[in-house]
């Protein structure tokens, strides 16, 4: 077995025994990190493999999260009632936009399709116009800022600044019960596994090779008969769907969705883990996302202010001294000890 296989098995075993070993509180934290890891896989695809520095994944995370939250709120309110926050803000009738989200199938489809569709249309528009590099990064960041403003402004529809909270049930699971929480954790871990698998297959396919070619020489790829805009749009859409799924799971895991979780800073934070772990290696991105968010929990308990600086410093250090992240460091160490180099895109 290769080192990669061994690490994979170890990780799966660790994730499987976590519910037995961790307190419900700690397990909930781990589930939250796994949500961020799902986003990280998407970012590693778009940024690491495709060269699209997306600073606005919070938007897609949010779209998935709000779609899920709307369903859960309606489910709770029952057939006659209104979600709690609407009552507080004086809304008397259920807004038309909310109506279909009472249907679980519709809501689940929306979790995937809404972020996917938004990313697809945006991608077509932007990549066809050959917007790339820093321009694309800034554009995606502006999108995150605009999204937050929109959410905050639509108090009656979205719960405004407070967002939505107080979720009690998730598809029949009781979220206050440790067993319900374990089930939500298991679902999250499973979705992370599937996300990883899909990304891995994509990276290894011809499309994955084409994506790397687009990253390294978009203009040259045109003369191989491909439209780079299509390649980028598809990849960006996949990464957005992953962020949407993560957002949808975040709601039952953490119990809240609000604009503060989705703006420019949280979107950047999603990126930090990927950079630290190594954006060119999917497993590295996952490990980085979990590690950085764990560190955030640990440090925030003691000195919340310091964490922001520490995180910023970490980001800069990694980009300057180890642009391939921890995965890159591991890779060079293995090369130095004379072992067979791992696949470039493990």
């Amino acid at each position: 077995m290769t080192l990669g296989r061994v690490s994979l098995v170890v990780c799966v075993v660790l994730l499987a025994v976590a519910p037995l070993a961790l307190s419900p509180f700690r397990l909930g934290l781990l589930a939250k990190y796994l949500c961020f890891a799902i986003v990280a896989v998407g970012i590693a695809l778009a940024w690491g493999q495709g060269g699209m520095l997306t600073l606005g994944q919070g938007v897609f995370f949010g779209l998935g999260g709000y779609a899920m939250a709307m369903y859960l709120k309606l489910e709770e309110a029952g057939s006659a009632g209104l979600p709690d926050f609407m009552v507080w803000s004086g809304v008397e009738e259920l807004p038309a936009l909310w109506e279909p989200f009472g249907n679980p199938v519709f809501a689940l489809a929306a979790v995937v399709l809404v972020p996917g569709l938004v990313a697809f249309l945006l991608g077509l528009l932007v990549f066809r116009q050959r917007v790339r590099g820093a321009y694309f990064a800034i554009l995606s960041q502006a999108l995150a800022a605009a999204f937050v403003i929109l959410l905050v402004g639509q108090q009656g529809l979205t719960g405004g600044t407070n967002g939505m909270t107080n979720f009690t049930r998730f598809f029949g699971l009781d979220l206050s019960d440790p067993n319900g929480q374990r089930a939500v954790y298991a679902i999250t871990a499973l979705v992370l596994g599937l996300t990883f698998l899909v990304a891995k297959l994509l990276v290894r396919s011809r499309f994955g090779r084409l994506l790397v070619a687009v990253r390294d020489g978009e203009d040259r790829v045109r003369f191989l008969g491909y439209d780079p805009a299509v390649v980028k749009t598809i990849t960006f859409t996949v990464s957005a769907v992953m962020a949407g799924l993560a957002g949808a799971l975040f709601v039952p895991v953490v119990g809240i969705i609000s604009p503060a979780l989705l703006g420019i800073v949280p979107s950047l934070e999603l990126l930090v883990g990927v950079a630290v772990g190594g954006r060119f290696v999917l497993a590295g991105a996952i490990a980085g996302a979990i590690a950085v968010n764990y560190a955030k929990t640990v440090f925030s308990e003691d000195f919340a202010e310091g964490w922001l600086y520490l995180q910023g410093g970490l980001f800069v250090l990694v980009l300057v001294f180890a642009p391939k992240g921890l995965a890159g460091v591991v890779e060079s160490a293995r090369l130095r000890w004379g072992r067979k180099p791992a696949e470039v895109v493990a």
């Binding site: 297959l201 994509l202 290894r204 396919s205 011809r206 499309f207 090779r209 084409l210 790397v212 070619a213 390294d216 020489g217 203009d219 040259r220 045109r222 003369f223 191989l224 008969g225 491909y226 439209d227 470039v344």
Partner: protein, 249 residues
Amino acid sequence: MTALLEVRGLRVVFDGFAAIDGLDLTVEEGELRFLIGPNGAGKTTLIDVVTGLTKPTAGSVRFDGQELVGRREHRIVRLGVGRTFQTATVFEELTVVENLDLADSFRLPLRSLLRRRRGVSDAVAAALEAADLTALADKPAGVLSHGQRQWLEIGMLLVQRPRLLLLDEPVAGMSRSERERTGELLHRIAATHTVVVVEHDMEFLRKYARKVTVLHQGRVLREGSVAEVQEDPKVREVYLGRAKGKAVT
């Protein structure tokens, strides 16, 4: 014979400077055409226009009767026009065989692209052979030497199976033996394809060229056999003038 490529009244202006200034060119199906001219004559710009990289100010480019001006680059490739670049560009992180495979796969539907490559297609194997890269097939293209990169690029063009190949200075910077190999490769390619080669290596030209078009200041100065072109006083002046200019600086 029928015209495969017809360029008519072409004008390309960059910031008020006409890099191509009323150019007409016809290339017949099956031809091997050499395009020469001093630096800045507009040779690369002409290839750029044909392949959609540069939009002309005026004029038309017809390939097999279809207008190419206004089409996007990958569409033109899909019609059957392929090119190489003056500085060979290959994908350094991909292996040699992956580079060739991508050039081979653009006709595949998306769902086949989403699968993993299994083995090597006949076209790719043949190109590996032709470019003498079989031993390096699984090495990243980044490790290739300058000459090998140029061969890889020609190999990629071959698996792309275009009807018209446009090669921009394929032997520039190559050693003598590499130039010879490239010449043989070119000779073989020309047997089954229509090829336009930009090249001003005179020795190379004498050895492989049949029909030559001389460009100067964005126009066709002379067209004919190698001997005819070499004897033309206007052509001599252009090249001599350039040599003089070089001697002065």
